[in-house]
Symmetry: C3
């Protein structure tokens, strides 16, 4: 799967796409690995509730502060890199915060497959989280089982 | 497996239950996926040491502050949502912090199985971490291999 | 695989070792689980860029502050345990922060294997992250597939 988000950050629900990959593989019992192939994106399983999504993005911006916009508050300022900007930006990048968010959220999940269906809880949806978009990104879905 | 904790938060050791699931599946070489089917709980592999467990819960309450009790200190106050309460609580919930803790700890682990045994290090134990209990919760254990 | 780092903390690139394990297993399509067998180390997939590595370690020391050196700033001081030191250190340890870093970074990753090769993105490398070295540590690589 590929993503090409207009915005720098985005949250895209992909539960149905993962189910389609499982259907296509014809697997009844097994696992589906869903992994971002990028180090500035993540895969997250949680609630499809817009208020929560806004809470999470605000909170991630405090814990892993972007330097392309000012720190949200004093805590974000102190969690920002001591040299004033990310050392990683020495090469011309501005996405240091996206690497840290990738670390916090994690770039992959494994979904169990039972009887041909994703074995998710009632509120669990799979999301692709983009922290540095506006260019083509890839996601791999690998289904294992029988 | 199901959990029905008396307290809002709980840490339950489940290493032995995962081993039993592997035994029941008769798998000698493979993987065991252990995943919470809820978005306010987690699965964690670490030390079975009560002091550490208390350290971790105190720390998670600072990083992902509950709004049903006051923030632990100034950092927790600044990491709390800017609108004063989690937007997620607009629907009557009070467990926004549990969603963030689920993100930090992660809702799943994979345990390698070698020669029929969980291939864990000497201090590694598997725990179910509940952040919003007092109702029935489910965990899925999926064993793959031969 | 075993590690015996001279320093307390270290970041070791292991992409090539994981590929060798896949080659040795003769697996063409499947998954490789890479997991630290310790609770004070982690496995991380990200960019092999020294500036970023320095950014990440500085940031982890703020979020999960060591007590064997003073807190980096006021935020690190407030994220330190309220009793003044980690309760976990009651048994003579000094690695409480390494347990928290293990939680944040996570102790394992799964790498998809396609056509006999690790199916990683162009910038994705696999790293072993040590937070409490200077003694022998073990890592397990488990390859599943056909």
């Amino acid at each position: 799967m590929t993503f090409d988000t207009d915005e720098r950050r985005a949250l895209v629900r992909i539960t149905e796409d993962v189910q389609e990959a499982v259907d296509a593989a014809g697997v009844r019992e097994g696992l589906a690995l869903v992994a971002a192939m990028h180090i500035t994106a993540a895969v997250w399983i949680n609630d499809d509730e817009p208020g929560l999504h806004e809470d999470v993005m605000e909170w991630l911006d405090k814990l892993a502060p972007p330097s392309w916009k000012g720190p949200a508050n004093e805590v974000a300022r102190e969690l920002s890199p001591d040299p004033g900007d990310y050392r990683h930006h020495g090469g011309g990048e501005d996405n240091g915060d996206a690497h840290l968010k990738n670390l916090l959220v994690h770039h992959q999940v494994i979904v169990p497959v039972t009887d041909g269906r994703l074995d998710l809880g009632p509120w669990q949806q799979v999301f692709y989280m983009e922290f540095d978009g506006r260019r083509r990104k890839r996601l791999v879905i690998k289904v294992l089982g029988e």
